[in-house]
């Protein structure tokens, strides 16, 4: 060992590693101190702007302009604090309060900045802009969000798609439908949830999804159908549960029929339950078991003798179901 490296090198290593340790300790202490001071300052600022935000959020139309004057004059951290609080509140409010909070963000310049950031070269900034634009009650936002829903960055597309759903506007539906295929790179859960949020306009639009070539589109359509199209979705779901070539679509259709509880679906579900695909059969049997027993007694009796234990189990009433 003594000949391995000279003492002076080891000593230098010791100095270097000790210095690195000291720097790390100082850094961690400095970060803690900065965070504490910053948090305290933000708390003070929030305490200062909170009454004004709450007052403005519930202000009548004629009082609004006076209330907003405070926000127009805010600068620096105070403005950021107001922005942050108003944005957080926007997730939980609707109607007039949402409109008033939007006005606060307009007065703070947040909306203008968000619109400008939709063309930023940094994807995270575009995504943040999309999030803000989806929260506010601002008609022009939809146009920007539609553009961002076709962004080159998948993350921006996802955030914009979610935001489009949140706007609940009719103009958003076409862009949301365009995001349904798996090739869009936007997860089906996000697109589906967005279409659900905009349910009042999406019901008619999604029905075409049952015949789409992309199984992901057909599956999401089958899931959404019971939520946004019922009972108009029943014929398409009945066809899907037996005829779709993709098992995941048939399972989704069976689950949707569970929610819709229609006697019309019993023969199709029985067919699906007798199909060779175990997961489809279980989903269809579970759907049948959830229906009133007067509709399904005969078919369930038959399924209780099925060779697959999972199907027999699904066909047997739970103790809760009686």
């Amino acid at each position: 060992m003594p000949t391995l490296i000279s003492s002076s090198v080891v000593f230098s290593l010791l100095i270097a590693s000790t210095t690195a340790c000291a720097v790390a300790v100082v850094l961690v202490l400095a970060m803690r101190l900065f965070r504490r001071v910053h948090a305290r300052r933000m708390r003070r600022l929030t305490d200062r702007v909170r009454p004004a935000i709450l007052q403005t959020a519930v202000a009548e139309q004629d009082e609004l302009d006076d209330s907003l004057a405070v926000f127009r004059s805010l600068r620096g951290r105070a403005r950021r604090s107001a922005e942050s609080m108003a944005t957080r509140m926007l997730y939980d409010v609707t109607g007039e309060t949402r409109t008033n909070l939007t006005h606060i963000l307009i007065a703070c310049g947040t909306v203008k900045r968000a619109v400008a950031r939709t063309t930023s070269t940094v994807p995270v900034r575009r995504a943040r802009a999309a999030e803000i634009l989806g929260l506010i009650d601002f008609p022009d936002a939809v146009g920007h969000l539609i553009r961002l829903a076709q962004d080159e960055n998948a993350e921006v597309r996802s955030v914009a798609t979610r935001a489009l759903g949140r706007t609940g506007r009719r103009e958003a539906i076409a862009a949301l439908l365009a995001a349904l295929p798996s090739s869009s790179g936007v997860p089906a859960v996000i697109v589906g949830s967005a279409l659900l949020e905009a349910a009042q306009h999406s019901a008619a639009a999604i029905s075409g999804g049952f015949t789409d070539e992309d199984p992901a589109v057909r599956r999401t359509t089958a899931i959404l159908a019971s939520h946004v199209m019922s009972p108009g979705a029943i014929p398409s779901l009945i066809t899907a549960v037996t005829a779709d070539k993709e098992p995941l679509v048939r399972i989704a259709a069976a689950r949707s029929l569970t929610r819709l509880q229609t006697r019309q679906a019993v023969p199709a579900l029985y067919n699906a339950a007798s199909s060779g695909h175990s997961a489809v059969s279980v989903a269809a049997t579970a759907a049948l078991a959830s229906f009133p027993s007067a509709w399904t007694q005969e078919v369930l009796n038959d399924l209780r003798h099925h060779p697959d234990v999972d199907i027999r189990r699904a066909a047997t009433a739970t103790p809760i179901g009686g």
Partner: protein, 485 residues
């Protein structure tokens, strides 16, 4: 004496350079993992304003989750644990508790509290289960979905397999009955599945030490450092190895270990691999390795992702005896799994798992305690035989400890910049002190225990699980408005 001197001299000559290289490599690889994790955290923090969790929490399209919770003699905590899991913020989750032949009132407490009724339906047989299932109980009301499987005692893995048989949702999460789960844990850990449903097959959440934290109704309400030094050291050890190490591996798409205290899997994949290996000591590690092997062999694209946000809290051993037993078991599990999957090591067919992660685990996790102890024996001998200059030896020792200390401090810096859950100044002081103290006895002791575990495995000694002695949580007084500890 001359012979001993010569032998030692030869050993020093042969081992000096490899040992030095090893020392540099192990600490540098930890630093590299921390650097990778830091990059991920920076990315994560920048995205915190648009995670979409609220949307997920409200959407009926969010994939359903079956929460599997094995329980053995947990009568004191089971009701609070189950209630806290039922109350988790998630749109569609069922809870399946597997009573693994408890000899106390675990089952009765569940039946009485949740009004369970017998479910006499035929049992599904999706994966093999050894312990006989005696009875299945289900919740009678519609407010929550709780199933309790009462079975003969057959161990944690077999109990999880029994739970897996009854799991109906697309995702399955395994949690320990004595762990405390954060309210948004399911949302956070399932997010990779929602974002990338085709490729994500498993995710793991961060498990942190609950010792020293204040708990109210099964929730951690105030995070603090434990009082005992042994637990303090484990807090920083968990930070460095679990939070940062696993995040780093996840970034390389080479995460091979997901903690059993909070791991989420796609149910179809779990069924395809046949559930957990009931014979394995390191069943969590073994399961993830089996998933890697399956996915790689079948050439399917996949991801095993680590979610760095704290989601689960568990009590770490506060006595030497229990800690020793835990570390022996961990190391034994490590050896058994590495040996079982030795064919994957340095095998390019298994990508980063085979070429990077497994060699790392062999070299820097399995062999590390052996080399550490060899060093601890050789250096004093070298001093005694005059082969090592005392000043030089001391200098070398200081360098190695300073470097190790720096790696842990780097982890503390990252924690401070990202989650900063230990918010008090005195907690920060405790963390720094623990990082220093870790090198002064703790590391050496754990090295001995780990070697004992390895040795026991090589000799084929039967593994005893023993009892984890729990000190219990610091419960917040019911009437207390303000947090006081």
């Amino acid at each position: 004496m001359d012979v001993a001197h010569d032998v030692l001299s030869t050993i020093f000559a042969v081992m000096a350079i490899p040992m030095l290289a090893y020392f540099i490599a192990i600490n540098t690889s930890y630093l590299a993992l921390i650097a990778l994790a830091s990059r991920h955290f920076a990315k994560h923090i920048r995205r915190s304003s648009f995670t979409g969790e609220r949307s997920m929490a409200a959407s009926p399209l969010t994939p359903g989750i079956s929460v599997l919770m094995p329980a053995y003699n947990e009568e004191t905590v089971i009701v609070a644990s189950v209630r806290s899991v039922i109350d988790l913020r998630y749109p569609d989750h069922e809870v399946i508790v597997v009573n693994d032949g408890s000899t106390d009132a675990t089952l009765q407490a569940l039946i009485d509290t949740f009004g369970l009724v017998r479910d006499d339906r035929e049992h599904p047989v999706r994966v093999p289960v050894r312990g006989r299932i005696r009875q299945v109980w289900v919740s009678a009301g519609g407010e929550f979905d709780l199933t309790v499987i009462d079975k003969e005692n057959s161990g944690r893995s077999d109990s999880l397999n029994a739970g897996l048989r009854f799991a109906e949702r697309d995702l399955v999460v395994m949690v320990d009955a004595d762990s405390l789960i954060d309210p948004d844990a399911l949302l956070k850990v399932s997010k990779p599945f929602a974002d990338d449903p085709e490729n994500t097959v498993a995710t793991g959440g961060v498990v942190r030490a609950v010792n020293g934290c204040l708990v109210n109704r099964g929730r951690v309400v105030d995070v603090g450092m434990p009082k005992q030094l042994l637990a303090k050291i484990q807090v920083v050890e968990y930070l460095r190895a679990f939070l940062l190490g696993r995040t780093g591996w996840s970034q390389l798409n080479a995460l091979v270990l997901i903690s059993g205290a909070f791991g989420m899997f796609r149910r179809d994949i779990l069924l395809e691999v046949g559930g957990l290996d009931a014979d394995s000591i390191g069943e969590d590690f073994e399961l993830v390795m089996r998933i890697h092997r399956l996915m790689r062999r079948s050439k399917r694209p996949y991801r095993v992702t680590f979610v760095a946000e704290p989601v689960s809290w568990t009590e770490v051993p506060s006595t030497m005896r229990v800690l020793a037993r835990q570390r022996r078991r961990w190391h034994r599990g490590l050896w058994e799994v590495l040996w079982k999957y030795r064919g994957m090591t340095f095998n390019p067919r298994y990508g980063a798992v085979g070429m990077v992660a497994l060699p790392f685990y062999w070299a820097f996790e399995l062999i590390a305690p052996l080399l550490e102890l060899v060093g601890l024996i050789l250096v004093p001998l070298g001093l005694a035989f005059g082969l090592v200059d005392p000043g030089y030896g001391l200098l070398f020792l200081l360098v190695s400890y300073a470097y190790g200390f720096f790696v842990t401090l780097a982890a503390l810096v990252v924690e401070e910049a990202s989650f900063h859950r230990y918010d008090r100044w005195r907690d920060l002081g405790s963390c720094i002190w623990a990082a220093l103290a870790e090198n002064l006895g703790y590391r050496q002791l754990t090295a001995i225990w780990r070697l004992q575990g390895w040795w026991a495995a090589l000799r084929g000694t039967k593994q005893e699980w023993g009892v984890m002695t729990r000190a219990g949580f610091l419960e917040e007084p019911v009437s207390a408005g303000a947090v006081s500890r």
